[in-house]
Each structure stands twice: as C-alpha cells, then as structure tokens.
Symmetry: C2
Subunit: 357 residues, 2 copies
Amino acid sequence: MNTYGIIMAGGGGTRFWPLSRADKPKQFLNLSGEDTMVRETAVRLGKITGEENLFIVTSAAHRDMSIGYTEGVVDPSHILGEPAARNTAACIGYAAMEIIKKYEDGIMVIAPSDHFIKDEEEFVRVMKEAVKTAEETSALVTVGIKPTFPCTGYGYIRNSETDSDVYRKVDEFVEKPDLETAESYVDSGYYAWNSGMFVWKASVILGYFEKLLPDIYDHLKKIGDAMGTPKEKEIIEEIYPSIPKISIDYGIMERADNVLMLEGDFGWNDVGSFDALEEVYGTDENGNVNMANSLIVDSHDNVFCGPKDKLIAAMGVENIVVVTTEDGAVMVCDKRRVQEIRRFPELLKGTDNEKFI
Amino acid sequence: MNTYGIIMAGGGGTRFWPLSRADKPKQFLNLSGEDTMVRETAVRLGKITGEENLFIVTSAAHRDMSIGYTEGVVDPSHILGEPAARNTAACIGYAAMEIIKKYEDGIMVIAPSDHFIKDEEEFVRVMKEAVKTAEETSALVTVGIKPTFPCTGYGYIRNSETDSDVYRKVDEFVEKPDLETAESYVDSGYYAWNSGMFVWKASVILGYFEKLLPDIYDHLKKIGDAMGTPKEKEIIEEIYPSIPKISIDYGIMERADNVLMLEGDFGWNDVGSFDALEEVYGTDENGNVNMANSLIVDSHDNVFCGPKDKLIAAMGVENIVVVTTEDGAVMVCDKRRVQEIRRFPELLKGTDNEKFI
C-alpha cells in the first residue's frame, strides 16, 4: 500500500506575533535558522513517503504562500485549500477523501507543519515503523513523544504494554496537567506527550468518521463525490464552511477502540511560543537566543528576533523577548508571559493599528 | 546696549542614540512633545533678545539642518557654522567676535540648544535680570539653578551673598559630586547647578580671552579680521580647526575674578539621558514615558520612544528604555544604565552596522 504525507498547515498563528502575522502564520517562519517550518516539515516527511506523495492542507488564503514556500518539494496540485478553518477532524477527513478518490486507498502520515524535530534520522525510523504498524494492524496509530521533563504545556497519552516491541496500546488521552500531575506522569513511564502526529489507512479513518462523526462524514462524502468533477471547487466552497469544528483528538482518537502508539525520542518540540526557540534555535554563551542583527551588551537569557537589515541593540536586560519586523512593529515581553503574546493581535483589532495584526 | 541671543548647537549627540544620530544630534529632536529642542530654545531666547537678534553656532555639517528647524525664528545669516568642534570657549569666542564686528558691542545671552525649561515666564524674568546685571556691572554673569534634589549628574557653583538682592558672587565651580557631597551642597544653600548659561558683554568676554586664553584670542582675532571680507569663509575654515579645545568653564569661568550668579528656579533640566524624559515629557498613570505609538500591557516605569507610524507593544516589562526609529534601529536598555547608551555608537564603529551610528 502506498504512503502519503499529509501536512496540516491551517494554523492562524498569533503565538509568534509580531513575527507571525494574519497574512504570514508561524508555519511560514524560519525559526530554526535553516528554513521555513513548512518546508522543513515537507522535506522531512518526504523521506518517509517520497516527495511526490506529499500533500498540504492549508487555508485557501495561504495556498499560494504554501506553494511558494514548498516549491520543488510539494506538487502544487497536492496543496489543498480549506475555504474556512474547521479544526483538525475536517482537515484530516478532507485529505483522507482526497487519497481515497485519487488512489483508492493508502497509508496517511499526518503531521503538523509547524513543529521542530532535532534528530531527523530517528524520526524517519520511528515513522516508518508506524507506517508498518498501521498497514499490518489497521489500527489508528499515533506517535507519542517520550517526555524529557514534566511539561505542563502538552497533552499526554497514557499507554500500556502490548505483545509487540514496536507499539503500545493507547489507554487515554489526557489534558495538559498541572506540575505535580506532570511529574507523576513522567515518573510512571506510562505517559507520552501528544505530538499530533498520526498514521493510518485512509479507508480506516474514514470508517471512524462514518461511525463516530456521521455528520462530518456526510459533508466529506459530498465533497468526495465532487472531487475530479468540474464542480469540485464550487462544492468545497459551499460545503466545507459548514463542517462542524472539532479536533481529531476529541472527535475520534479519544473515542476509538483500536489506537496504538509508538514512542518517539527524537528531540521534538511544538515551538509553541518564543521561549521554545532556546531549544530550536540555540543560545549564545549568555543564554540569549539571537536571531537578529544585534549588538548585545551585558544581557542574558533574552530572545532577540529581527530582520538582518535592521538592528537590535540591548544593554543590561534579562529574561525578555524583543522582536522587530520589516514594517516596524516592535514587541518587548517578559519571557515568563510569552503565552499571552496572542493577546496583542486581539487588542489591536478595531484600532488604528490593525495593519500590524 | 543691544542684547543678542547665542544658541550653542554644536553637540554631536550620542546620549539619545538611536533617536539621536551622527546626522541628527539631540538638539534636533522633539523630546518635549512640543517642538525640536533647538527651535524651542530659539523661541524662548527670542523673548529676551528679540528674534532678530538670535544667533546659532553649530557644526558646519548641521548648518542647513539648523536653518531648517529654526525657519521663521532665526535669520539664516545668523547661523554660524563651525568647521570643527573645538568646545565651548571657541564657540563663544567666535560668536563674541561676530557681535563685535557686526554691532561694535552688545550683551550676549548664551544658552545651550538642548536644555528643557518648564517655567518660561520665570526664565525670561531671571534672564532679563541677568542682562541688566551684565550691563551694569560688566561682570561675567551666569545663571545657576536652584537644586531641587542632590543630583550627582551636574556640576555645581559655590556662591555667596553680595550687597545685591539680585545676584550673588561665584566663589568656585565644582565637579559632579558623589551623593553624600551633593547632599551637603543642597543642605548648605550655597550651591547651585551649573546650567551652562552665561550673560556678558562681548567686549568683556573677549578681554578675558585676551588675558586668560591668549592663544585662542590670536585665532579669534584672525577670524575677526576676515569677517565681512571675501576671505571670511576660507580663513575660518583654515583657522578654526586649530583653535585649542577647552571649555569656557575651565578656560575662563573658573579663573576669572569678577563672576556673578543669579539663581534660577524655573524647572530646568539638561535632558542628559532618556530617564530625564520623565520630567520633560511626563508619564502615564503607570510611570511610563510614552512617546511612541504603543500598546502597553502590565508594564510600568519604562520609556517608550518611536515614530507614530511604527508600533511598540510591551507586556510585563519594567524599568527599561525601548526606542525604535524609522530605519529600524531598536534599542532596549536597563533604565539604570542610560548613561552608557553612548557606548552603542562607539561599538558600532567599523562594523557592518555603521549606518546606524
């Protein structure tokens, strides 16, 4: 059975404001110093599925941008535009229907477009095992991340042994814990971080849609029937915006009976906010993440981001994030409050500064 | 005797980097929210001398800029360009020679171009008294500022009573003190801040040059002889750069025998660094100086400066200075270290970032 890479690139992206903007969400940023997140994701996933089998699901508004940033890697006809953001169940169902209609069936390797992975070789090895597992067992397979510290920012997957050395059984998906709970999770050895990466047959996941999310399935079926016909675009634009908004985790993973997990240990990071750049981009000898053209004096443990033709000069500051952009938006934030940065674009709505959203 | 306002605008200006730049020193900045410092100074001094009697001495490189920023206030032919910066003795001697050659003699009211004065009415009153004193006594007259706190950033003038209610006798100019010394100065009642404002007859100060700084006087005489001739510009360009560099304080004020002081109490501030903007520009209810187009969340006691078409967004920060400019230089600095900001342009010399100096 063929394998297809499905890259979910529908994020709106306010967590990296003002680097990320309404017209340029996080997946189109270069946060590793190497390449944009979406292109890095595509190249990485191509090593598992072959680049000719890569698909991207993104907002229709960002389709052209996705084509541009993955030029030479992803076939432009494989970049599917969602007329509206309807959460991950819709996104994955849409892609599954595309695979069924185009290729009858296939293994889908689904990954977010905006995560960082340090050890690519190990990642490829684990994902190939996951593909094999999905093919052999017809289960819903996810890759949980072996926790390296009691993180309170991730959801966890409780899992238990099986007869296999390769995969474990998923018992429960649990919400982001408080610190004490997270510590007990990590100590137990039975919890992994939920990475949002999934591997399964297109036919299998559509079966789960039919059973567990029949309303969404009806929508997907109408879209599937139109695929390859002259009415495809029109029907998608009509149907898609009314698909119920639900995540694949809530809608299917937490309710399905046959869910397996492979444990991954390859330096995964969801790059959720500016403080994650310490791991993704690295720091200088004073603990500063320095992604700007900068002049830093007596400053430590900061994050500096800015274009190479601008300048950030800093003296005597610590534990702050300083971001500047081509169009002159400057943000400074206490590093302990980076989760709240998404409030800025919210607060700018309806003001004279909407152009900076 | 006529009165002439002499505005010293020769500062290079690195204390307000990156607002102030090599090609736009501090005197050309609007730091009060009202107008540029040099124009505010000219308008203020014009109320004492009449605007038609105002002169500006500035670097030749900034002559056009000075003309532009004082348009309609200062006669462009009264803006004297120094071919090189030779400190305040040269600057004042040059202006004195100009007054002598143009008008035979006159009272010079000399003020730096980059200071702030809150109570203009009281300023005008005191300066007019100073003019009267200089005319009647032929002394060197300075205006000392009544200290409002034991400031360690200013030089002080020790002074004592005279028979006059108007002026006091200057006993000594003293350097910037440490805090304990400053406290004793303020408690004593015999010390005033040295404001760098002087009032005297042109003929009297030139007499002191001849007596105390004969070398500089020789240079000034050659320049004076060329004034009004076709060779004026050529001679000034030849002679001026070799005038010894010395301040009027060291060269004359500390050594002259007949120095009087009037005490001024009109909200004077030399606007020496970004922290002075609290007094000059004012603060919001959280103690922030907000001179930028900004979005400020949970932040207090900061200074934000930036153009109105840019944006500064801040969250959870305190006691820092954040400055952004049209060309994308951003500076963040601990507010306790604003005196060191002049290090930035120094550090940028010889680097790829020289354009930001």
